[in-house]
């Protein structure tokens, strides 16, 4: 049987969550709606629902991360799942174990879901292709390719505060070239049907054919922010200065740092977002990061409900898929298929 999209099961329901690309608008809306329902779990005294009780979720992080790994762990625990944190960087792969062998070993321990972060683009897809049918894979960031859960929590934040996606103008500012977050955000925003997506940054930090993603390019921050409803700031990574892509942090801040003054160019009610961690005084001024238009901390809170939604949607589907395949196998054995 040929599947058009490895992320979806027979019934078009989410089974792996690897990239926003290729997912229809309704799937994204379902994730947002499910996250909305799950956001109430924090109001309970016992901050848990039993949805994934008895399931084991493995955080397979080949790249160091505290923030993303912690929110996935918290989300899994709120769903009553058991969580294993594997910091692979510090273990077997150093001894030369292949990725597939690592996976096979984990599967032998009867885990149900892998949340994977890896330095190579495409790694999450690779893993999804090789896992047993009852296992789900969630991409926590692969190389420069995608960081779909971050994009979804950003969309959730936008929807909660701004309501309808349709009339919005959204600007993403900074190092788009190296950002898997930006790529996922662009796909999500265009799929959800916002009026306009703008990318703002120096030529050295924007991909060559970025317009083909359906975005407008600006190199001037104030021009780019005119009439914008949502501003997403990206972190400037130190390596970029070392690679001679930028003269200095100071110059970057002068041209592309979001200050109170530059913020005036946007709409009065514009919100400021950042996937974190923030570099104060480099891409964003403290006054803005801590100011009334900033929703940065809300993004973090929303990350838990969104990840709970994605994990429970995938897990529900993976179970039924495995049950269905087991049934087909049984029928084939009996010769009754």
């Amino acid at each position: 049987m040929i599947r058009s999209n490895i992320q979806l099961d027979q019934n078009g329901r989410l089974r792996h969550f690897l990239t926003i690309e290729g997912l229809k608008r309704q799937v994204l809306v379902d994730i947002l709606d499910t996250a909305e329902s799950l956001s109430g779990v924090t109001d309970q005294t016992v901050k848990k629902v039993p949805l994934l009780r008895g399931k084991t979720i493995v955080n397979l992080f080949f790249e160091a991360s505290t923030r993303t790994r912690t929110t996935f762990e918290l989300a899994a625990k709120r769903l009553s799942a058991d969580v294993l944190n594997l910091n692979i960087a510090a273990s077997a792969t150093k001894k030369g174990e292949t990725l597939l062998d690592t996976l096979a070993n984990l599967q032998a321990m009867h885990c149900d879901m892998f949340v994977v972060r890896h330095a190579e683009s495409g790694s999450a897809h690779f893993i999804a292709k090789h896992v047993a049918p009852h296992i789900s894979v969630v991409n926590a960031g692969d190389g420069r390719h995608a960081h779909p859960t971050q994009a979804m929590l950003d969309m959730f934040t936008i929807r909660r505060i701004k309501g309808d996606f349709y009339p919005l103008k959204v600007a993403i500012v900074g190092d788009i070239l190296h950002s898997r977050v930006a790529r996922s955000q662009i796909h999500a925003l265009t799929t959800l049907g916002v009026t306009e997506v703008r990318v703002i940054g120096p030529k050295t930090l924007l991909p060559k054919d970025v317009e083909s993603l359906g975005v407008h390019v600006y190199h001037d921050l104030e021009k780019g922010l005119e009439g914008v409803d949502v501003i997403i700031m990206l972190r400037l990574q130190n390596e970029r200065m070392q690679g001679a892509m930028l003269p200095s942090e100071h110059e970057y801040f002068q041209l592309y740092g979001l200050t109170e003054k530059k913020l005036q160019a946007a709409k009065k009610e514009a919100i400021v977002m950042h996937p974190g961690p923030i570099n104060r005084g480099v891409e964003i001024e403290s006054g803005v990061a801590d100011g009334p238009r900033s929703v940065i901390l809300q993004q973090v809170t929303h990350g838990i409900a969104v990840r709970m939604a994605i994990m429970s949607m995938c897990m529900g589907s993976a179970q039924r898929e495995a049950q269905r395949e087991a049934q087909v196998d049984a029928e084939l054995d009996k010769g009754t298929a």
């Binding site: 329901r13 809306v29 379902d30 994730i31 709606d33 499910t34 909305e36 329902s37 799950l38 956001s39 109430g40 779990v41 109001d43 309970q44 005294t45 016992v46 848990k48 629902v49 039993p50 949805l51 939604a309 429970s312 949607m313 529900g316 589907s317 179970q319 039924r320 049950q323």
Partner: protein, 167 residues
């Protein structure tokens, strides 16, 4: 065979029985919680009749169901909303149809994740038998007998009516 059900009259009878029960428990200010969706519609009628001071709570038990692995995640789950503290309070739990008892089992588990009530009294509009768990209602509006393959469903919110159909 079943008589046609006069819902308004039945709700009044339910209220009478509930008042008696609350007296028995010494519950001066009970809370009311309806189970989505039919239970909420019924509770919305009972709430003013019982003169309950606190706002009405509603539960969507989807996250506590025992068949999640079979049916998967439904994105249209409405969030549960209990705008009060349940600790040491007497709770009136309301649902439209009591059948296998699994919904009530899930509802009890969910309520207890919010705190520790003094008591839970179950009031249902229809008891159709067919229990699969040792669960019973304290107050029943109407007992119904259904044939194999028949289902009873409350339609609403306005007007409320009962539909018996055959799958």
């Amino acid at each position: 065979m079943n008589q046609p059900v006069d819902i308004d009259k039945t709700l009044d009878a339910i209220c009478e029985q509930l008042r008696a029960r609350m007296d028995q428990l010494g519950a001066k200010a009970p809370l009311m919680i309806g189970i989505h969706s039919g239970g909420v519609w019924i509770a919305e009628k009972l709430h003013p009749k019982m003169a309950i001071q606190d706002p009405l709570g509603h539960l969507d038990i989807s996250f506590y169901r025992d068949d999640f692995t079979r049916i998967g995640m439904n994105p249209q789950v409405k969030p549960s909303h209990l705008p009060f503290n349940v600790d040491d309070r007497h709770i009136i739990l309301v649902d439209d149809v009591l059948y296998t008892g699994r919904t009530i089992r899930a509802a009890l588990n969910e309520i207890f994740d919010y705190g520790r009530p003094a008591s839970v009294t179950l009031a249902v509009l229809i008891d159709r038998g067919g229990r699969e768990l040792p669960i019973e209602a304290n107050v029943v509006g109407v007992t119904m007998e259904l044939l194999a393959g028949e289902n009873v469903k409350l339609q609403g919110p306005e007007p409320l009516s009962l539909l018996v159909d055959n799958k």
